[in-house]
Amino acid sequence: MPTRRTILRAGVLAGAGVAASACKPLSPEKSTSVIAFHGLRQAGVQTSPQSHLVLLGIDLTPKSGAEDLGRLMWLWSDDAARLTSGQPALADTEPELAVDPANLTVTFGIGPRLTQLVSGVTLDPLPHFSTDKLQERWGQTDLVVQLCADDLISLTHAQRMLLKDMAGLGVLRWTQSGFHQRTDDGSSGRNLMGQLDGSVNPRNANEHDALVWADGAWKHGTFLAVRRIEMHLDTWDELDREAREFTIGRKLSNGAPLSGGKDEFADPDLHATDKHGFALIDPASHVARSRSAMNGPQFLRRGYNYVEPTDGTSGLIFMAYASDLAGQFVPVQQRLAEQDLLNQWTQAIGSAVYAIWPGAPKGDYVGRAQLGLPR
């Protein structure tokens, strides 16, 4: 809740109109709701998932090059820095909507075509997976903007401001909106199949750094695989609890592995057997098939649930962040395409990959250094 003082100030700013953004910046009253935009790495990756997501797939207008991309990144970075700190965007016509950023993060990335503008970085499209039924309308784009926040007003406002910025430079191809269940006790939020989703994830920033953050030319950047996966909830609903738990290899109540353990953070034991000698976590279950031999996270999963308002279908906007998609994500997706009991109720309908820029220090903008442009 904004205090009266912030509302008053915002009112004054609103009166000032466009000039507002030139005023002294608002000092954020709710420091906990501000996640710094500038830094070595972009926010919104290792950030604990906020309640709402808007993912924008954007194509650069034809014939635009590194300079145009740089200009767009400059405009975007400037407004993202303002909005995430609770200040209105430049030329913000609704500055009140920027007062409480509600943990807003804005994260920028580029698709395989634009990585060619950056030396030393290559990003290959994903190979075809046998289970895919991809729709063109959720396909690869030149650019991605991931906006996340705990409040839909601030999120929607930021979305609109950034889309305004790209006039003449980019074309919006798709928008993927999602939601995440935030919990108070550190447990993972549930997906629309009722499962705790996100248990095995790189939580220890130091230990798992190399899983997520790239090195070399893309140091402090990362790579993102976006998979739009529809859930067939009508047939999933016909399964009893035992069958649902069997399919994943974990309990629905608390996410504990079927091999035992007190909660979702207990290590699944793929060798534990029942009285007949069969594995308690079935070898074809989602956990058994997706798990690595190393018994630990393989990349960062930061998924959001979606409901498609036009036709009522729903599913998961699966997002995997990895320092090397080909080495970390592709083998897992390959295994799941070969066999995964869950495949019966899921269908990948969209797919795209992006290189997520390294962060920019204060006073700089995202992508400038990598594009080799002057300050």
Binding site: E238, D240, F246, H276, F278, A284, L341
Partner: protein
């Protein structure tokens, strides 16, 4: 004092009747094999059969079409044995069995119905003439049968208890002496 002691048996009888209804409810709500569940209809060899010669293959027939994922574990007097690959076709699971000596065998199976319901169980059979108990029996586990049996037991006991109170109350009314 008197009124209190006279109404106490009635209260207990009411409580017993109440508990009886709850118990009936619990038993009625126990999971029963629903339509969606996959069940073994028959197997060859049949469960508990005694065979003169070792079977060369096993066939399981279920009430529903199966998913391609299925597993078996064959255990004999000397431990686990390797079987041929498991073949799933429609509602049937087939596999070839290895040559074995006389003894008691257990063939455990796990199948998944095409709709996604798993079923894990086992059959056992004897090949040739054998002394009883040549194979270790798996430890018995608490099964829904056990829970159901306890539920039925509780209902019967409660029923007897309630009946006893009713009879007792009647008798007390007739004799006019509450205690």
């Amino acid at each position: 004092m008197k009124a209190l002691s006279a109404s106490a048996p009635r209260a207990i009888a009411r409580l017993a009747a109440c508990l009886l209804m709850i118990a009936v409810g619990v038993v009625a709500s126990l999971p029963l094999p629903a339509q969606a569940h996959v069940l073994l209809l028959r197997s060859d060899p049949a469960d508990g059969s005694v065979l003169k010669e070792a079977p060369t293959r096993a066939v399981f027939e279920f009430n529903q079409p199966l998913a391609p994922t299925a597993y078996v574990i064959l255990t004999g007097p000397d431990g686990p044995l390797t079987t041929g690959p498991v073949k799933v076709q429609a509602k049937t699971l087939t596999l070839t069995l290895p040559k074995v000596t006389d003894g008691r065998y257990r063939l455990a199976y796990r199948v998944i119905s095409a709709s996604g319901h798993p079923l894990t169980n086992s059959i056992s059979y004897v090949v040739g003439k054998i002394a009883p108990r040549t194979m270790k029996q798996p430890p018995r586990e608490r099964s829904p049968d056990w829970i159901a049996a306890t539920g039925v037991g509780a209902v019967v006991l409660l029923g007897i208890g309630a009946g006893w109170f009713v009879v007792r109350r009647k008798r007390q009314r007739q004799t006019g002496s509450p205690q």
